[in-house]
Symmetry: C2
Subunit: 266 residues, 2 copies
């Protein structure tokens, strides 16, 4: 497309990042370090353009991403196959751009996103795994995994997720659809005397802190403090006060974002 | 055992650590941060004793350990089952003491070690895995895995490892026995378009930089720069100059240390 005498392109990228050292994805007021700033600075270094990227959504401080998606309009004529390496050479090593492709000029990473999958990881056992400490929430006492699985079933379908949303949100609608909610266990690691499990939630959208509040409540189910059926009863209550605490950020990862033409790969 | 009027005990611990932030295991001159210092400071905080711990061996700056073993003699009467948690509360979160047990008073972690296993991990593919970047050496171009496996076979048995040892060493003997040398591939990760492989070496002892020089040479085999048979020819040459470069530290992990009563668990 030609725009203002220049040929412009819309470039869509997939990026992984370790969120440990960042105040979330999105640019913040003040000097807070964010993934978005890193990426925009790298693009500026590469092309000279001071532009704004659009992501599929924000992630909070300490939250990770395996497959965050963003896009931006650029006048740069750098061949598309050179972009990943060029940006990776200009960002910190906790950010890796994995894919770059040209998309229609009206593609918008947030508006076009059809589904997202988040993963939350918990390590059960006396000690954390020191090598995964930034991406696993450590729970030292035993959990009833089957009760948690049972609880997840109440979430599937279209529901009002008011109870599982931060009160700090100002959305018009709290209705979201969860397509899949599953709990997957890694094998027990004998020497570490522990195992990790992952909660995967796939939905058409997620409210602020929604995955973390769901996980915080499910952990209470796993601890035997609540029955599995509470997960459904809390949905019905439409009251944040009925749900459990917000689970810690570092166990959470934006796993994958799906667009129109794509089917979930799991 | 009673010693100077006090009952003393010899405590043996197994510790995991992420070596990224340390100048190796062993105490260094000056203000360099080491794992040993962290552990000794924690023991001092806990017991008031300013003692020296003895480890199975040192690890270099940036090298990790899954199962490093150390021991120390203490007058403290803290029950053995409380030691792990007490020390873990006093060290940085990149160190986790996983096991503590009372051993005979003459047990010495280095002298009593019968076998050690080291693991070296390489990620093959265009990009590193951002979440494992501190523990995988990233190799962006393809490697001939079968040629590397073939090369590993030359190492098994009793050999003079002069060629695979840093010239900065002053050992009486360069003879070591490798009991097992294997290469294990993780599954190909489609979305990351990459896979990791691990080289496990188990032997009765390792010379300074030995694993890293072996890996650096094997990578040249994998790149097609040398035939597999060079791994054996280099052994025969007894000349460090014939081997390849020393592979980077961060891919290396002290995996396990075996003592008399134990059999390797692999």
């Amino acid at each position: 497309m030609r725009f203002g005498g220049q040929t412009v392109r819309n470039i869509r990228m997939t990026v992984s990042y370790d969120g440990t050292a960042y105040n979330g994805f999105q640019t913040q007021p003040g000097d807070l370090r964010t993934v978005q700033d890193q990426l925009e600075q790298a693009i500026k270094q590469l092309t000279g353009e001071q532009l704004k990227i659009t992501a599929s959504g924000r992630t909070d401080a300490g939250v990770h991403a395996r497959g965050q998606v963003f896009n931006f309009i650029t006048e740069s004529q750098i061949p598309i196959e050179r972009w990943c390496m060029a940006l990776n050479a200009r960002v910190a090593e906790d950010i890796v751009v994995r894919d770059a492709r040209i998309v229609p000029i009206d593609f918008h990473s947030r508006r076009a996103a059809k589904r997202k999958t988040y993963r939350y990881t918990v390590r059960c056992g006396k000690n954390p795994d020191v090598f995964k400490r930034h991406m696993e929430f450590h729970h030292p006492t035993p959990l009833n995994i089957e009760a948690m699985r049972e609880g997840l079933r109440y979430l599937v379908g279209e529901h009002d997720f008011t109870s599982y949303s931060s009160v700090r949100t100002a959305k018009n609608s709290f209705i979201r659809t969860i397509y899949e909610a599953k709990l997957v266990c890694d094998p027990f690691e004998e020497e570490l005397n522990s195992f990790a499990f992952h909660i995967f939630l796939t939905g058409n959208g997620f409210l602020y802190n929604m995955v973390r509040i769901i996980v915080g409540t499910l952990l209470q189910v796993g601890e035997g403090k609540r029955p599995s059926s509470d997960i459904g009863a809390i949905l019905d209550a439409k009251n944040r006060g009925k749900a459990g605490p917000t689970a810690m950020a570092h166990g959470l990862m934006l796993w994958e974002v799906f667009y129109e033409e794509e089917a979930p790969s799991s």
